[in-house]
């Protein structure tokens, strides 16, 4: 969980192996429902990466996952396990929709930047709160951040169904829609919005920040070895809060982008669980922002294929959640194999085969 990755090969193959085993187990479970597992695997792949349409769908869904994964990964590098990204995302979306109603807001790129910044600020504030509670009061940040996520969702529902409600939204309470000039457009010719590019840039920037800048390095020291950080006099509290604020800003930005590019207003559809999938993405990427990009695309793909499983094979919509749960458990369990000396295991296996007729006690 700390910054040091001693063996990049293992960091790559262990999670891939875990995903493969998770897919096998998932196939076994769906086969109990009378569904052919091979068909499920093919559909998962086709729905995620099969053609241009599914690729666009996948990339579209991977954008918020990259940003919510950063909300876990950045605080994790400072030694905190924050799992309340969903709250920051929801409030970010709400702040974006509220800021869009400001008078005198230019309905141009500048206006879009302003509303997205409002979303990022709301998210940063929310996650910093969890960080501050831990630094100043010693409150466990994992629990407090998730409680704050439930508080955020309650606030969101209250405001969207109350003070901020668009009177004309009857069946589906939502805020006033954003002005057309504020919406985030799609990349020329494709059905993928600019949020994907923003997500990739955010991951790259976070990776460079951790690797190249003094403050990023200091954050890694605080997370990796708090005692050493204390000895060299690093301002641990300020660095932890910085990492939390940046992570929260990323998740808040995810909410703002979802509003400005997909929903065009803030409504309950924003609470779609991206914050929770982001946790899984960050853990699989071992909290490395650069690795977040491909992992987010993979899980965005599973998300995209989920509706296909539902439509074509009649599987419950929670199938993808189940696959994610299995994958998460196996990815964590695979960490136990990290220290295994594979050469020794293989040589022992071959020796066992050679000495099979004899009993084990004969071995020197």
């Amino acid at each position: 969980m700390t910054g040091n990755e001693p063996d990049p090969m293992r960091s790559f193959f262990l999670p891939i192996g875990a995903i493969a085993v998770a897919l096998l187990l998932f196939g076994l479970i769906v086969s109990f429902a009378g569904v052919n597992p091979v068909e499920v695997w093919v559909l998962l792949f086709m729905g995620a990466f099969g053609d241009a349409f599914s690729w666009q769908n996948t990339l579209q869904r991977s954008a918020p996952l990259m940003l919510t994964a950063l909300c876990v990964a950045l605080p994790a590098r400072a030694g905190l396990i924050v799992i309340g990204g969903e709250g920051a995302l929801v409030l970010g979306g709400l702040a974006c929709a509220a800021a869009a109603q400001l008078p005198l807001l230019p309905t141009s790129l500048i206006g879009t930047v302003v509303v997205c910044a409002a979303g990022a600020a709301a998210g940063a504030l929310w996650i910093s709160l969890a960080g501050a509670l831990r630094q100043y009061q010693g409150v466990n940040e994992t629990i407090s951040s998730l409680l704050l996520a439930y508080v955020a969702i309650g606030l969101f529902n209250h405001l969207v169904e109350g003070p901020l409600r668009d009177p004309s939204s009857l069946n589906k309470p939502s805020t006033l829609p954003l002005d057309d000039g504020l919406l985030i457009s799609t990349l020329g010719g494709f059905d993928v919005h600019w949020g994907f590019v923003i997500g990739v840039i955010a991951c790259l920037a976070a990776g460079l920040w951790l690797r190249l800048t003094p403050s990023g390095f200091a954050v890694r020291v605080v997370g990796g070895n708090p005692r050493a950080a204390q000895l060299v006099g690093l301002p641990a509290t300020r660095l932890v809060l910085l990492a939390c604020a940046l992570g929260g800003a990323a998740a808040g930005l995810a909410g703002a982008i979802e509003v400005a590019a997909v929903h065009t207003n803030a409504n309950a559809a924003l609470i779609a669980g991206y914050g929770y999938t982001g946790i899984l993405v960050a853990f699989m990427a071992r909290h490395n922002p650069l690795a977040v990009i491909p992992v987010a695309i993979l899980f965005g793909g599973f998300d995209a294929a989920g509706s296909l499983l539902q439509r074509r094979l009649g599987l419950p919509d929670a199938s993808v959640l189940l696959l994610q749960g299995i994958a998460f458990v196996l990815i964590l369990a695979s960490e136990a194999l990290r220290d295994t000396d594979w050469k020794a295991v293989f040589s022992q296996l071959t020796r066992l085969r050679h000495t099979a007729p004899r009993t084990q006690g004969d071995r020197p």
Binding site: G138, N157, A318
Partner: protein, 304 residues
């Protein structure tokens, strides 16, 4: 507010504390047992959801709510045992595993529970403690969950077991010092896996009370963080099973404020009142924690 409304409101809060507090009670007792052995299981949220679905399904299929309760407890123990075993592996962190199990429990429950959203399952019987009152509001408020007395007995039994029995002492030793446990010749992992599975068994009873008593049906929003609140509640109760009872009832009451206000016709701020338990949990955590100082009563292995 008239006297009648006040009676209805107070009855709503008290009744809510007794109804909503039961799942909190079981999950916090389960977490208390787990943490006493030196592990934190955040996955109890997943255990709660999965056991709630299991209880409903088993009651629906068998026709007996008590078979549902038993099935819920066993499934809870199974999922928690997975947490216990995974955390015994080298390099596997108990907090991260808890988050993963939360996701897995919900995934399994929603996947398997899809056909159970429509039907009605046989419910647990209620104990009518309101027989002395003429007020229908008081009578309905004091319809007690049949699992509540079991939970109260369990709390007393756990307090006694921690203080007086060999098994209780072993759990506490494993929680306070792994090396002392090894020096006594016991397996730390073995004790912790057993305690975690036992905690899951108890938390499973809380899941059963969700779908078999109140709210009494299965849907995907059946638990919204009760399992996690219970984890925080154990800190508030300073790892004492008896104090868990009081804490659980307090939280049940806090969760009942919104519905109680609605029952006397105040609909404003429904969502705001629903976040009261979460805010209360945060406030209590802030009050009971201090930086650089351990919470009194916390198991030694959790202080590291």
């Amino acid at each position: 507010m008239t006297t009648d409304q006040l009676v209805i409101f107070v009855a709503g809060i008290v009744g809510g504390a007794l109804r909503v507090g039961v799942p909190f009670l079981f999950v916090s007792l389960g977490e208390c047992l787990t943490e006493k052995s030196g592990r934190i299981n955040l996955g109890l949220e997943g255990v709660l959801v999965l056991s709630a679905m299991t209880a409903f399904g088993a009651s629906y299929l068998s026709g007996s709510p008590w078979i549902g309760v038993l099935a819920a407890a066993l499934v809870g123990a199974l999922l928690a045992a997975l947490h216990g075993v995974l955390c015994s592996l080298p390099r596997v962190n108990d907090i991260a595993t808890g988050i993963a199990l939360m996701l897995l429990g919900m995934g399994l429950a929603f996947y398997l529970g899809k056909p159970l959203i429509q039907p009605q399952a046989p419910q647990l019987p209620a104990i009518a403690l309101g027989f002395w009152s003429d007020s229908p509001a008081v009578r309905s408020a004091l319809q007690i969950n049949a699992l509540l007395p079991i939970g109260l007995l369990l709390a007393v039994a756990m307090a006694w077991a921690f203080a007086r029995t060999r098994a209780g002492l072993l759990v506490r030793v494993a929680g306070d010092s792994a090396s002392a446990t090894r020096a006594l010749g016991y397996s730390v992992s073995g004790i912790r896996i057993a305690a975690t599975a036992g905690g899951g068994f108890i938390a499973g009873l809380g899941g059963a009370s969700l779908t078999l008593f109140y709210p009494g049906s299965w849907n995907e929003g059946i638990s919204s963080g009760q399992g996690l609140i219970a984890v925080a509640l154990v800190i508030f109760a300073r790892w004492s099973p008896l104090r868990c009872v009081g804490a659980a009832l307090l939280f049940g009451g806090a969760g009942a404020v919104g519905p109680a206000l609605q029952s006397i016709g105040i609909g404003w701020g429904y969502h705001l009142f629903n976040i009261v338990p979460y805010v209360l949990t945060l406030v209590i955590l802030v009050m009971s924690c201090r930086p650089g100082r351990v919470v009194p009563g916390s198991p030694g292995e959790l202080r590291k």
